[in-house]
């Protein structure tokens, strides 16, 4: 009987193809919009997540200068409160730390032959590569011995290599940073843009002491990059660093920190929350069109029931029960919902592809959004079809037969 009802319902739809399609259109657009909108939201989320993760896993960054409750750093970076000794103390005294990479950086002009290029020179230790997810593509990184001897060696990013050296292999070449000669001993693997659109390959890495003493002429640090052993200990390590540095800086209780400890997991969580809200918002706007589509189904089903009153009367006179008629019209509504849902999924996939292709946005189609949109469209067919179907099934056979 169920399949009979499906066939009868399909027949009813076939009799009025254009109308069935127009009714479906609401659902098609609704489902398509939900999938495309959620894919945009998920795309933003994925992009933010990968770029944050690209900074390094389990990363904690210590910066000089205080943070106000609103998150604005006061005089950060220009402050001179972090020292090499602080960095060493963190590595030595805090449990759960797997690597510490102190760093300083400043922009300088590089010269090679008749080419020049201005970029950030970063002074740090070899651990920096691990902590910030850099890898050496060719050559080697400098060693701790180079740090002890303030060696004039450099590891350069892909962008620098391309712009300064062109076709020449940079390895073993000598370039000048702020007029001092440096030998290129390694080229980094390309990392691409960061979440802020920064070129992460436009960088030159030199030994920390070389940068501090030969280039900047300072003894303090701008950053201490700390890698925790695993995500579980990050919060603990962050706390321990704060306690340790307050003690080392001899800050009385009540005096605010003169440094800032940032935890990337926390940054990530905030970002996820934000992108989640965006996704939800986009999805909700799209869902409204799905509901509007459902109302369209109800409207057409009501018209269809009135129009087919006589048919219902005949079917009832020949022995159709309440359930037979209910099922016939309910299935018609659900078929509209399901078919519209399927076409809408196709439209949504095509839409999110088109958005990423033409607008260049990152879109991620999540299977969950497809399933939810589809189930939703079936439910809408069911919900908005129920009232008209019940109305049809409750018709009195005599009155229905008399209907002109």
């Amino acid at each position: 009987m169920f399949w009979e009802s499906v066939l009868i319902a399909l027949d009813g739809l076939k009799a009025n193809k254009l109308r069935a399609f127009l009714t479906m259109l609401g659902i098609i657009i609704g489902v398509g919009a939900v999938i495309a909108m959620v894919s945009i939201g998920m795309g933003v989320r994925q992009k933010v997540e990968t770029s944050i993760a690209g900074l390094g896993s389990n990363l904690i960054i210590v910066m000089p200068g205080a943070t106000t409750p609103s998150g604005v750093r006061l005089a950060a970076g220009s402050s001179t409160t972090l020292t090499n000794a602080d960095a060493r103390a963190i590595g030595r005294e805090i449990a759960g730390v797997s690597a510490v990479a102190p760093s300083v950086q400043r922009s300088y002009q590089l010269v090679y032959g008749n080419q020049n290029w201005t970029t950030n020179i970063l002074g740090t230790t070899p651990e920096y590569l691990d902590v910030r997810n850099f890898a050496v593509a060719a050559g080697t990184c400098f060693t701790n011995q180079d740090i002890d001897t303030r060696a004039r060696v450099a590891v350069i990013g892909k962008t620098v290599a391309d712009n300064l050296f062109g076709d020449v292999s940079p390895l073993g070449q000598t370039m000048r940073i702020n007029k001092a000669p440096f030998r290129v001993i390694g080229v980094l693997e390309a990392k691409g843009q960061s979440s802020m659109g920064q070129d992460q390959d436009d960088i030159v890495i030199v030994p920390l002491t070389t940068a501090q003493e030969r280039l900047l002429g300072v003894t303090w640090l701008q950053n201490i990059n700390v890698q925790a052993d695993n995500p579980e200990v990050i919060d603990k390590v962050q706390e321990d660093i704060t306690v340790l540095l307050r003690a080392r800086h001899r800050l009385q209780s009540g005096v605010p920190d003169n440094f800032t400890v940032r935890n990337l997991a926390a940054v990530m969580a905030t970002a996820q929350e934000t992108t989640g809200t965006i996704t939800l918002l986009l999805g909700n706007i799209a869902a409204i069109s799905l509901v509007v589509g459902g109302i369209g189904i109800m409207n057409i089903m009501l018209v269809s029931v009135t129009e087919r009153t006589r048919e219902i009367g005949i079917r009832k006179a020949l022995g159709a029960t309440f359930n037979n008629i209910l099922l016939q019209f309910l299935i018609e509504a659900i078929v509209i919902g399901v078919t519209g849902g399927f076409i809408g999924i196709g439209l949504g996939l095509a839409g999110s592809y088109a958005i990423s292709y033409f607008a260049g946005w990152n879109t991620v189609v999540s299977p969950l959004s497809i399933i939810i949109a589809f189930v939703f469209s079936v439910m809408i067919g069911l919900f908005f079809g129920l009232y008209p179907a019940r109305k049809a099934a409750l018709l009195d056979p005599i009155e229905a037969l008399r209907y002109e």
């Binding site: 009987m1 006589r310 020949l318 022995g319 309440f322 005599i398 037969l401």
Partner: protein, 225 residues
């Protein structure tokens, strides 16, 4: 006794107006009888027929069909009885316009739960009985009035009911087609089926073995030919 009606009334309330469409009808119809119901317009023939055909329920009184009291059954129970026990033929044919003759005839078997194969087989057989084997795939609007009514009769036969009821089956037909239709009813009756039909025309009523006359919702005369 196949049909036993006792003191059937049917009252319609139209605002302040009360219409006694049936004012106490008692009627027995034995299995195999061929009964015609006659009477002037508005005398309650169709009302009575709808009750006999389980399309409607009386306001009061009892109706037993094949020994089963049906006056108080639920809508769905009545639907099952209409489907299994009664073949109904309407004055205006009441065929579904989008379906072929064969599909129209097979429709009652859909609700009887028969599988597709046996449905079409029986429908073709029923169409053959009314002489329309060569019109199986015609839509109702591709058939003449007489042919449409024969399709409707085939449909009333397809579930093999004991009783055939017809409300002015020849009312929309010319005399020749009407006579052909009556021929079919006579054959059906000769095969042992109970036939009850409504008519205005004495010629048609003359085909029946028994004629029941009605006026103002009451039976006034009950005669056997």
């Amino acid at each position: 006794m196949t049909i036993v009606l006792r003191d059937i009334t049917k009252v319609y309330q139209m605002g302040d107006n009360i219409v006694n469409a049936l004012a106490g009808v008692s009627l027995d119809v034995a299995a195999g009888e061929f009964t015609a119901i006659m009477g002037p317009s508005g005398s309650g023939k169709s009302t009575l027929m709808n009750i006999l055909g389980c399309l409607d329920r009386p306001t009061s009184g009892s109706y037993s069909l094949d020994g089963e009291g049906v006056a108080k059954l639920s809508d769905d129970a009545l639907a099952v009885i209409r489907n299994r026990k009664i073949g109904f033929v309407f004055q205006s044919f009441n065929l579904l316009p989008r379906m072929s003759a064969l599909q129209n005839v097979a429709l009652p078997m859909v609700y009887a739960g028969a599988d597709r194969h046996s449905r079409l087989e029986k429908a073709a057989h029923a169409l053959a009985l009314v002489g329309l084997s060569d019109r199986q795939h015609h839509k109702p609007n591709e058939l003449s009035g007489g042919q449409r009514q024969r399709v409707a009769i085939a449909r009333s036969l397809v579930n093999d009911p004991a009783i055939i009821m017809a409300d002015e089956p020849t009312g929309n037909l010319d005399t020749k087609s009407g006579n052909e239709i009556m021929e079919i009813f006579r054959d059906l009756n000769n095969q042992g089926r109970t036939v009850v039909l409504i008519t205005h025309e004495p010629d048609i009523a003359a085909c029946a073995k028994r004629v029941v006359h009605m006026r103002d919702g009451k039976i006034t005369r009950d005669e056997r030919n």
